[in-house]
Symmetry: C2
């Protein structure tokens, strides 16, 4: 396995992180994801981390970077499926996942994305123009 | 990583296979999946294999078994995202993925599942009663 698959679900892209991330894999994921957003005009990215038992500062930074890159390309990012123990550790370590929105599971993440897309359309008259 | 995450998407369950499968992992996936179908009454299972570069007889049998188990519990299984090279190898090796339906990607797989659920409702008056 040398790439993390990106699944298209309507206007959203779904990534499930199941393997230990390292520099090269994280960089390839960022490249693939930004490429897919640019090519297909996705308005949202869902990143499922339900199989991660630990989120360290490396993963935290990677998630923040993905959210930042996606936002510039007009897509909101929601991190879903975080295990309770991961949330506890994050707070204890003082890692705040700045700029990253979270939701309990994929379904709630999609609701959140739909709501934020609707909102930005109502405010600015079109997707991709937020912020 | 000791478990493959199962994501709920409305009436369907989505599994992305990204790691090398071995006996114990395959058995746990089958247990988790059948448990989730029984608990939540899912009508469809999508298995994404887009990151697999090879499907051998072990994986083929596992996919067939998952489809069989799910069917008994009232859920159809669709395998999605197969790489062209995998399809070529499967045919060359004479592996037929018996009893397993396939679709090009997650979106088409969902369409297929929706169509087959609608059809079985029209024919038998309810999901879970097909075949």
């Amino acid at each position: 396995m040398d790439r993390i698959p990106i699944l298209k679900m309507g206007p959203f892209l779904l990534v499930t992180i199941q393997v230990d991330m390292h520099d090269r894999l994280a960089m390839m994921l960022q490249e693939d994801l930004t490429g897919r957003i640019a090519a297909g005009g996705a308005t949202g990215v869902l990143i499922d981390i339900s199989s991660l038992e630990m989120v360290d500062s490396f993963i935290g930074r990677m998630l923040g970077e993905i959210a930042g890159m996606s936002r510039i390309l007009g897509a909101e990012t929601v991190v879903v499926g975080m295990q309770p123990s991961v949330a506890i550790t994050l707070v204890e370590l003082g890692l705040s996942l700045k700029g990253v929105r979270t939701a309990l599971n994929v379904e709630r993440g999609m609701e959140l994305l739909r709501a934020s897309v609707d909102e930005s359309e109502a405010t600015y008259g079109g997707p991709g123009s937020q912020r």
